[in-house]
Symmetry: C2
Subunit: 210 residues, 2 copies
């Protein structure tokens, strides 16, 4: 690094838009460390929790189903504090990544806000609903056989959870255009071509004169 | 051109974001014909109308003040049909620009939707409110001395008008991220650096393999 400032890129994305794939490719192209599920693994290890449970809390908005208004009972208080614990640990893990001081790219987890002081280049990845449904069908995990209608519901639910998580953690609106440096639409691109274009744009941003 | 497909770029923008300046610079960089106020001039000439009136109808949403529910009176019917006339003429002028067949960049006027069949590269330009207010103060026309509070109101009003015009002309939502290929935030950039980055991205889009 020799005196050069560390570079951080964050990717926020709509479910099904291909943001994760773009992020992985972008990190490879730029030679940046890549963080995505690694963060969940780290949280689970640090807290001695099940990885799947951590993922569910963070990605599927499990706190939504909590009886928040009934939190006088012992079990729900425990549930809530467990979840707050996961969120705090996530914050800690992300801050630790930045402290390593190496160029890195982080997908999701509101890292754009959590690492604001490091002035990351913040990207939001989107696509129209038809493209997202098509992508989800093409990349369905084994055993998943959802209809386009069910996929649309899933996409909306996942994005609603992301918006809610962002609001809880940062108090900000998810996807609000002026909160990101760049919003890219994956719909009309081959992912390889798009990655090249975004990599060049990102480099211009880090080298800009302002 | 020699058999190559014509390239069209459209710029939609929040008031005060610097979208017009970026558009002008981008057209210069790429060697594209540039259309902005030229369209208003052409509409006014074709319809034998005052240029300022045409601009007011198109940019300041003068139809908002029309007593649409009272359109039985002769004068208001005339007003309305004049405005519809301007919108139709605008559509015609924009279509004529595309028919010339030269690479061009069009700022505003919902050209992204009107010229959809030509597959334009569609850009939306935004910035946070503070940056937009700062820009408006720096570039205030002579004699304008609005406070930040008044500028904020003006910015919101202009964008509301743009959203309304878009809805009237195209039935679509203004600024909806997945309706544009790229959304750029001018806030952290020097305009010259940003233009270079957007020009490179645009060229990648026109050369993409998909």
């Amino acid at each position: 690094m020799k005196g050069k400032k560390m570079k951080i890129i964050t990717i926020s994305r709509e479910f099904g838009s291909g943001g994760r794939e773009m992020g992985k490719r972008l990190a490879d192209t730029l030679g940046f460390d890549y963080y995505d599920k690694e963060i969940i693994r780290e949280i689970a290890a640090n807290k001695g929790m099940n990885e799947d449970y951590v993922r569910q809390v963070l990605e599927e908005g499990r706190w939504q189903s909590l009886p928040l208004t009934y939190n006088r009972s012992f079990s729900s208080v425990t549930m809530q504090s467990l979840q707050i614990d996961i969120l705090l640990e996530q914050k800690h893990v992300i801050e630790e990544i930045a402290k390593v001081g190496k160029n890195c790219l982080i997908v999701g987890r509101n890292a754009d806000v959590l690492l604001e002081e490091y002035q990351p280049f913040t990207i939001f990845v989107c696509a129209d609903m038809q493209s997202k449904i098509r992508r989800c069908i093409e990349r369905a995990p084994e055993g998943e056989d959802l209809s386009p209608k069910e996929l649309k519901r899933k996409i909306c639910r996942m994005d609603k959870n992301r918006a809610q998580t962002r609001s809880i953690i940062t108090g900000r609106e998810w996807g609000e255009r002026s909160a990101y440096h760049l919003t890219v639409n994956t719909a009309s691109w081959d992912m390889k071509d798009l990655t090249g274009a975004v990599a060049a744009f990102s480099e211009s941003w880090f080298e800009r004169s302002k």
